[in-house]
Symmetry: C2
DNA sequence: ACCGCCTATGCATCTAGTTGCACAGCAAGG
DNA sequence: CCTTGCTGTGCAACTAGATGCATAGGCGGT
């Protein structure tokens, strides 16, 4: 269960409310670990009872109060303990693969149309990641260790999208739909 | 929810018991859609009440009876209907990415050791997939459409493992641990 | 004046999937 | 003889996550 730890990393970088975290998950961490705001609030509650984080209420003008969370020493210890354990390799899960496997029983045209859409989505995401890399990490060779982590995560995104595009192209080419 | 459909494809290819399916999932489909035998039995039960499959008991010598499932017309219709819908792009989920993102708060040495292990696992899996491709699909250019599907799924596996290896290498190189 | 969107927090319900356990007979190896 | 492993089917309990709903004030546009 890594959502706790993803939140812990995010809160360790900078204190945040549940709402802030939900937005960060939409914008950055969420590219490789999705979470809805409902889930974030639920997990934050559990993390607070476990003493990994603590919160204080902050009143604001013209907007609702917010509960700002910060990491505790116990939270830091937990992060360190967790990072020293090996992480399981996430199994692949591809509905498209299942469809391809059974393409003889299905609707070939619809599947290939879907592959076209998927290719475009991968291409758009790749463009986004590459723009992000060019903007934030123009000179990767000179990064500090902690920035390096974030950069390598972005690299994973770039590699994954390229992999997705390559696969789509192979599929379309194999079925002669690459026009 | 694609497990139903993964099972449906497998049963459409060849009738099977729950046990057979569990083994197929271990050996082939399971490389891109994991399922435990408990889950398979549960889903088979639901599929039977939905009339997507039907079963009959087969007595055997020196081993327990088994319940052999076959696909119904309704099951075939459902497969076709399902394949004509677009499939959602599966979000990435990488615990290692979370660790890298927070490597400044964690145990760098342990994380890199884990990356070494992971690289080896990807390499072994790649070797397995490539051997499988060489054995079953020596001449990909001349495949029929239905074999093409299975071949392209294997290609996805190969591409994914290569992608995994590339990422591991980038990480190790970036942290100077590539020796 | 009303509509929709943003900030902000959360509960309730449902589903998919994991983990642990149970039963039962046969075969093979030490 | 005993243990381990294979064939075969399943239930029960739990957890993570998705989905839908609720509340509430302010802000900007038509």
């Amino acid at each position: 269960m890594a959502l706790e730890h993803a939140i812990l990393v995010s809160v360790a970088e900078k204190t945040a409310s549940g709402y802030d975290l939900a937005r960060r998950f939409d914008a950055s961490i969420g590219h490789f670990w999705k979470a809805s705001h409902q889930q974030i609030y639920k997990v934050l509650g559990r993390m607070e009872s476990d003493k990994w984080v603590e919160s204080h209420l902050v009143a604001q003008d013209n907007r609702p109060d917010k509960k700002v969370y910060s990491i505790t020493q116990e939270g830091r210890d937990e992060l360190h303990r967790w990072s020293s354990q090996p992480s399981p390799i996430e199994p692949l899960r591809s509905e498209l693969a299942v469809k391809l496997r059974g393409i003889g029983f299905g609707d070939q045209e619809a599947i290939l149309a879907d592959v076209h859409v998927r290719r475009a989505a991968h291409a758009a995401q790749l463009e986004f990641y590459e723009a992000s890399a060019a903007k934030h990490y123009p000179d990767p060779a000179s990064l500090e260790d902690d920035e390096l982590g974030a950069y390598l995560v972005l690299r994973a995104g770039i590699l994954a999208e390229r992999h997705g595009i390559t696969w789509c192209d192979e599929i379309l080419q194999a079925f002669g739909s690459d026009r």
